[in-house]
Symmetry: C2
Subunit: 305 residues, 2 copies
């Protein structure tokens, strides 16, 4: 069999500036593809399709190297500047306030996929322009494709977005996005509506309230891990998706039981991610920490019938 990348993600790699009530970091490595791949790398081999400028240094790339993330599809644009996001959180850490976004090299991003990337069985389309997501989706002969999106595309590129949603297996979005996409305030009805758009599965991220997982016939929900200190929520959703897709790729199964555990592993990874700036916490995570927190999920949600 020809070589392949077990799990592929396309999305942003960014240099963020972040302010939270607990601190400021002027240069924080971020972007959906970065958070996703670092998280997924604890479960399987993962490759990143993205673009950076030459302000993304060799030192910065350590984050990929130390997690053995495949950067064969990471374009470097000489003289270009990396995607920048500046955001702020108040004491309600559920909502990010964007202060500034600079697309930079991302504005003209044309994903170039290697042959081994095109053979990836598992693919995640992180939150980028939906036309670009579809372009990548069509190049990859994947067995299972999931995607994220955001209000910006739901409002500004709805038709394009619907065409992309129609060709994926799973949608992984947050609560407000699900309601907005469906035009329906009740989440359960919103989910039912979304599952008529093409995907067989919907995972709804609810921040501090946990996550819910819908198929046409099944429902699963979990509370979030009880954290006493949430330091920086940036990337929580992407590390959630990374844990989820990483676990599915590792298991190489797509049944209900695997998917439920995948939602828990997603929740576990998101809970670590928010404990520090950027993916600092994940970078020094021991795989046993993941197992222990997964076990804690079982304990704090279990009751006897």
């Amino acid at each position: 069999m020809s070589s392949q990348i077990p799990l592929l993600v396309v999305g942003s790699v960014a240099i963020d500036s972040i302010r939270t009530p607990f601190g400021v970091r002027e240069r924080s490595l971020g972007g959906a593809a970065l958070h996703f791949s670092v998280s997924a790398s604890f479960f399987t081999d993962v490759g990143v399709v993205a673009v950076v400028g030459d302000d993304f240094t060799t030192e910065d790339e350590t984050v990929f190297r130390e997690r053995k993330i495949n950067t064969g599809n990471l374009q470097r644009i000489a003289g270009g500047k990396t995607f920048r996001w500046e955001g702020e959180y108040g004491f309600d850490l559920n909502t990010a306030h964007t202060l500034d976004t600079q697309l930079n090299v991302f504005a003209d991003f044309k994903p170039q996929l290697s042959d081994e990337a095109k053979r990836s069985p598992f693919l995640f389309l992180a939150n980028i322009q939906p036309g670009l997501q579809r372009e990548v989706r069509e190049q990859v002969d994947a067995r299972f494709v999931a995607m994220d999106t955001m209000n910006f595309w739901i409002e500004g590129a709805r038709d394009e977005l619907l065409r992309t949603i129609a060709v994926v297996d799973a949608l992984i979005i947050n609560d407000a996005e699900a309601r907005e996409l469906a035009g329906e305030p009740n989440l359960i009805r919103a989910a039912r509506k979304i599952l008529t758009l093409g995907p067989k599965m919907l995972v709804v991220k609810r921040g501090e309230y946990g996550a819910a997982f819908f198929t046409r016939d099944t429902y699963f929900a979990t509370p979030a891990f009880p954290l006493e200190s949430v330091f920086d929520p940036t990337g929580a959703g992407d590390s959630f998706a990374g844990g989820l897709m990483g676990y599915i790729a590792q298991s190489d199964k797509i049944d209900e039981s695997t998917l439920r555990r995948a939602v828990i592993f997603g929740s576990v990874m998101a809970s670590f991610n928010v404990e520090e700036f950027s993916c600092d916490r994940l970078r020094r995570l021991d795989p046993n920490d993941i197992k222990a927190r997964f076990q804690q999920f079982k304990e704090f949600t279990n009751f006897e019938v």
Copy 2:
């Protein structure tokens, strides 16, 4: 042994006017003690300590009679008017907007307890003036006492409230109330703080997001039942408390395993309550419906380790 009422509740019995996006009901039987007792009556014998005016008719009292609720401690004030609450919900059914409150006979309410009420082993102090809650608490030789409260008392009668909280076993309040009471935006830290005020247990109601249960050493959380249509949220919190306390009283045990199931039974009863106006849905509920929904909770929260 002298006769006793297995579970006692003190609180309001009210005539509500309710507007939701789905309908209007001008005369809706309500009040915390009514919602609580109807819900709890599916688990154990329950008695109500409350006051009504003579506009609360014999026909209205059917709600208690048909559920065999003990009204020996329900005062009827001739010429008095029953407590009235007028409220409205928008499409965000999580928050009630109070349009009008008339205390009426409730303004001079002096709880008079019969001897069998004073011997109740389980007592719930529904949301009323905290001084009144304590007065009742001191009269009842209960084994286990839980209470509710609201932002109005947290803000306007804090010292009085803290004195009452200090003499109960469990506090059952909502998310925002817990954060406000503790002066702490993080719920887990808020819970930890509240558990230094006296109670050994805290149950946090989170509406459509479920419930969390804290002791000093343990944590349990559950998502809510996935409802496609929430019709009228009035009384959800009280039917939650009714299911919870009813199940504990029925089990006559206060261990972790019983309490976790009690939180689920509370969630089950709240989920039925919100499906129709007032307690209409509970009034024609079959006990098998409760068992079935409890089982569904197990199914939609379960995952294999």
